[in-house]
């Protein structure tokens, strides 16, 4: 399974360019989409799951043109949208059963097994008879994950999947995705939680304002940031000056001031130490310095 995106553009009716000339190759495994709000992540995902038409460009999913072969593509799809809150009056298990039937699982026995399996996997088995609209926010999220996965999709598109999950659930979810990614499936994960990507994605792309900023492995992105992440202990007016000059990553209070981490192309501040970058550092550095959005 692979996805080839060429010269993809999306312009809304109000003239806003949501995606501009996107070219991307996505192979099997986990693929992360990282970017700030409004970057075009959801638009790209909605196009990939055939909910929205691109303005121009080509997308081939496993060789199928997304404009002409929606039936085939939809058969391979699992999708969890960013908002997944409002349900009609179906029970938890019924919603999964509904999704399974639509995904083509015709055997009732098999469907019931799958429903129970996924309810177990996402920790909703105990509330299987509760109305889906009566679940808590986290439970709804888990139900959303289960419905996306119940049809054994070859292309799984999940938009902000871990929002609202507690750390334990988040880990469980990551593990589930990892398992699936072993089966020649493409999993596209859109998030602004950098940790999700750093822990499970082999490849990723950075979207910013509809443009493709970076495409590669998280390690490559981190590598590009090496030498641009600093830590310094400052106090009083120095801290204010630092804050106004550089994007601050973290600020940890100490006895005589603050230990501050920040990114910069170069710095001549006294007492700064270069530190080893993480994906979070790389993301901030990239957004602030590489994609040309440095407002500082």
């Amino acid at each position: 399974m692979n996805i080839s995106i060429q010269n993809l553009n999306k312009v809304y009716d109000n003239g806003k360019h949501a995606l501009s000339d996107i070219n991307l190759e996505i192979g099997s495994g986990m693929f992360g989409l990282l970017g700030p709000n409004g970057a075009g992540k959801s638009t790209l995902m909605r196009i990939l799951v055939t909910l929205m038409k691109p303005t121009s460009g080509t997308i081939l999913i496993n060789g199928w043109d997304i404009s002409n072969n929606r039936a085939e593509i939809r058969k391979t799809l699992g999708y969890l949208p960013q908002d997944f809150r409002f349900f009609t009056k179906l029970k938890t298990w019924e919603f999964l059963d509904y999704a399974a039937r639509l995904a083509g699982v015709k055997s009732k026995k098999l469907r019931m097994e799958k429903v129970d399996l996924w309810l177990e996997k996402v920790g909703l088995f105990d509330v299987r008879d509760r109305g889906a609209d009566k679940l808590s926010g986290g439970m709804k999220r888990r139900l959303g994950i289960a419905q996306a996965l119940i049809g054994d999709p070859k292309l799984l598109v999940v938009d902000e999947p871990t929002t609202g999950l507690d750390p334990e659930e988040r880990i469980r979810f990551r593990n589930i995705l990892s398992d699936i990614s072993q089966n020649d499936a493409v999993i596209i994960l859109s998030t602004h939680i950098v940790g999700d990507i750093s822990s499970i994605c082999q490849n990723m792309t950075l979207l910013d304002n509809g443009h493709l900023g970076f495409s590669g492995s998280p390690e490559n992105l981190i590598q590009d940031t090496r030498g641009h992440v600093f830590q310094v202990n400052v106090s009083g007016t120095d801290y204010d000056e630092l804050k106004n000059t550089y994007p601050i990553i973290s600020t940890i209070p100490t006895g005589d001031g603050w230990d501050v981490q920040f990114v910069a192309d170069n710095t001549n501040i006294a007492g700064v130490n270069q530190i080893e970058p993480t994906l979070e550092h790389a993301y901030v550095y990239f957004m602030e310095y590489v994609s040309g959005n440095n407002e500082f």
């Binding site: 909910l51 002409n68 929606r70 949208p81 409002f86 349900f87 509904y98 083509g104 419905q147």
Partner: protein
Amino acid sequence: MAFSLNSISTVGIYEMRTLLRSWFFRIFAGLSVIGIGIFNIAANLTNSGAPFIYRALPASLPYVNLLVLNVGQAIVAVFLASEFLKQDRKNDTVEVIYARSMTNAEYILGKTLGILLVFFILNVLILSIGIGFSFLSNDSAKGILEYLYYPLLISVPTLVYVLGLSFFLMIVTKNQAITFIILLGYIAASIFYLDTRFYQIFDFIAYQIPMMKSSVGGFADLETTIIHRGIYFFIGLSLIFFTITRLDRLPQSKSFKFLPGLISIIFLLVGALLIYTYLNNKLEVINEKKQMIGLNNQYHSYSVITIDSCNLSLIHSNKNISVKAIISSKNNNEASIDTLIFSLNPGLKVESINIDNTDVNYVRDKQILKIIPDSKVLPGQTNSIQINYSGTINENTCFLDQNLDDFTDYFSFEIFKFKKRYAWLEQDFVLLTNEALWYPISGVSFSNENPSAYSPDFTVYKLDVSTKPSLMAISQGKAETDSTGNFSFSPEHPLPKISLLIGDYEKKSIDVDSVEYGIYTIKGNDYYSEYFTDIYDSLPGVIRDLKNEYEAEIGFTYPFNRFALAEVPVQFLLDKHLWTITSDAVQPEITFYTEKGLMMEETDLKKRKRRTERSMRREKEEITPTELQSRILKRFTRGNFMANHTEWYMFDRMDRNTMSFFPNYVTFKTNLSSSKWPAVNLSLQAYLKDRYSNPVSNYRWFSQDLSKEEKINLELKDDPLSDYDKFWKTDENDEDEIALYDLILAKGDYLFSIFRARYGEEEFNDFIDEFIENNSWHSFTLESLDSAMRLQFGESVLNEINNWYYGKSLPGFMIAGLETYKVHEEERTKYQVKFKIANPESTDGVVTINIFLDNPNEQNDRNAEPDFTKKLYIPAKSAKDVGFVFSTEPARMNIYTHISQNLPNTLIYDFGSFDQLRKTKAIEGIKDCALFDKTLPDGEIVIDNEDSTFKFTFENKVSYLKRLVNKNMDPGYEYSGIRFWNPPTNWNQVLRSGFYGKYIRSAAYTKSGLDDKVATWDAPVAEKGYYDVYFHTEKININWSRSRRQTKKSDYNFTVYYEGGKDELNFTDADVENGWNYMGTWFITPETAKVELSNKSVGPMVFADAVKWIKN
């Protein structure tokens, strides 16, 4: 494959589950089940009072249950359909469904299926209630197939259409509230406004479409019903498929985008084709009828031969008949005939014709069969004509005298609609009357150039029938049969018509006094025998009693050897022609009764039995089964076959003449033919039927509008009968409108009542009885009747009949000098009633004076028989002095003025008490006296509300909505009843005997108000001087409401004008008396002779009647 059933069913099932959990739906379903459940229990219980029809027919319960449910489910379907599209926009979870592999069509069809499944469950539930209760009830009709037909005909098309329309409007408006409001308005408009317009084409709810199914004849016109319902089904589907094209989801592929659009267009075209077919079929019927009438008009004046005998050999096979008719004819005209005109149903194809064994040429044009003999038929010449024909029956030839400008092909009973049927020619059931022209008749049937003309040949018929061995044929005359389906009928007398029934009948009969009485019932429909198990021994006596009773009532003897009731499908039409008082259900020797006696009274025998038992218990009578059953049978017979036609009847557009025995006594025995005054035939029948009964009304409800007789008086005052006869088309659907039939009936009865009153009751009736007896089994002309009258009474009545038909002059009656007092005669107190009555008009008149003696038990009984009745003939421009003396004190008198200018047409006088004792001789008798044409002395100037100088303020304030709804409504008659619960805000005219008036005793009344509406009497005072001024009124105080104003009695605020000023006067209720009330004396000049009445009053309404000025 374009659609995956798996996807559709998946979406459908989960949509259904969701909707079943909707509280909106649950509440609706719950209320429906409870409401319809209670209704079904009531319908199946006899002591609930529910009409018999709900238990009598297997189709009734499923039909009514779904009709009731359908309105509700249409409204709920609008909500559910619009809700799903709204939820799709709102619910983000729908995106995970949209991302699944299914077409938009599958999704929308699935959603539609889901909604339909929900209603399917509800329908099943509702129908199960019907099935359950009908099977639990012993005497309810049971059926299963009906529970399949009606959901398909009622619910499915309506739901599909409503869903499609809701989807469509949601897509167009993108707003659920607007969609809901528009569709609710549409549903309301279709029920209350569009309902029957354009042949019920707008009736998507199925409220007006006739679809009652008979257990004998099935659906009356299933094809038309399917076409109508198909219209909404396919348009609904078209809109659903249009919705698919507009769904806010990317289609699976381009082909899936265009396919639903294409299907939508195809379905729309199918719907449009069905609309065209439906309307075209309706118009075709009307057009064909018009063409047939045109042909009848073309040939109605042709001389025709008389059919003396007719031998018919009929073979019934499948849905066809094949007939050989051998006719003996005679030319009774004074001239030769070169073309023989016959009428024969256009569905019957003529195969050959020969005259005296020689083949002849013939031409067919619809119902007209023109035979061209080789040589002219000379006067007096007889021929034998053989006509061979076969085919089926075209019912358009029946009842051509229906109003084709507002043609209705259905009738209503309870909530049900029935397609009118006139004939059946099915594999297992045949019903043919001469209306269907199943055998050739000489001449033409209805012609609107002479609509009330009717001149049948009295023919000696013989009928041989061959049908399936399992079926029974029924016709007039002595019947012989073998067991192989062959029947032979030989009537003993020449008859004006014969009929044929073939069906799976069973017969029960009994011979009483050489007459065979029988009843033919479709097998399985004998619900009555169990109610008459103990009557068999006494049945001859009961029948004899009833026969004697009826014959004493009408003065004729039953002339046939048999009489039978025969069951026919419920859709059989019971309308009447202009030339007969009964419906086509009454045939010689045989009266058709519609399935299980529906459309008749007293056929709910279980209910009747219970009520009779209760009544007997109340009267402390011994209840024996024989007596009970005898009473039930008598009541059924009297109510349906023997009653006076003016009695109230429970069915719309029918009266008690509809099934009357009467035609068997007179109409099938003789006929009065008159081409010049055709209405005289029906007139004679109307007179003969009710000549010994007394139409009486001794009470007038305050709220009562004009009676039928009063409307007839108004109509006949405007135009002569001849004009109505020729030009007037009645609106069958307008209950307020008087039918030509009613006009002829009323004016006809009046004509012969005049003769009776003039020549003496006994003398005239004996004469007419003898004349009819001498003219049995053939028609007679009016001229021959006139000759006989000249011989008997010494004068011709032809001129009078001519005036009666072509003139519009009506008598008018004035009553004066009514006095009531006591006298002593032979030491006993007698009660004197004395008055003068005049007819100043130029036409003779007759009144019926009814006097009711003081009987506290009958004071409010509208139907109480009078204790004294006198019919009084009052020639034109004459007056009578009338005196009656009674030993018991009379309580009231009413004078029924028959056809006259009087309104109200019954003058009612409550006598109060006979306080005064006069020492004079009692005056008994009727004497001529001097003619008077006013009831007040000279010198008194009276202005009545009917006079031109009476004026009132009128405010034309009608809301836009009312104007819109009533746009085409006739304002109706000038007079109405007193709407005491909601008096009009403008002055309206009402009739009461107590008001002042020469012939029309009326007043104007209005709701009391704030002195903003005034009635004004202007008097033509010739000279100034002192005048006493009076006002006239009848005190009307009706306490019906608890509101303060309603319980207060009206006072009257007058303004009297005089020279140099005006006085304002208030008369409280206590000040006012019935009749004339003195107001005062003023100096009045010609310019100031005016009195005003304000609408200001403490009571609910004020009445403006008359004012008089008397010069001092």
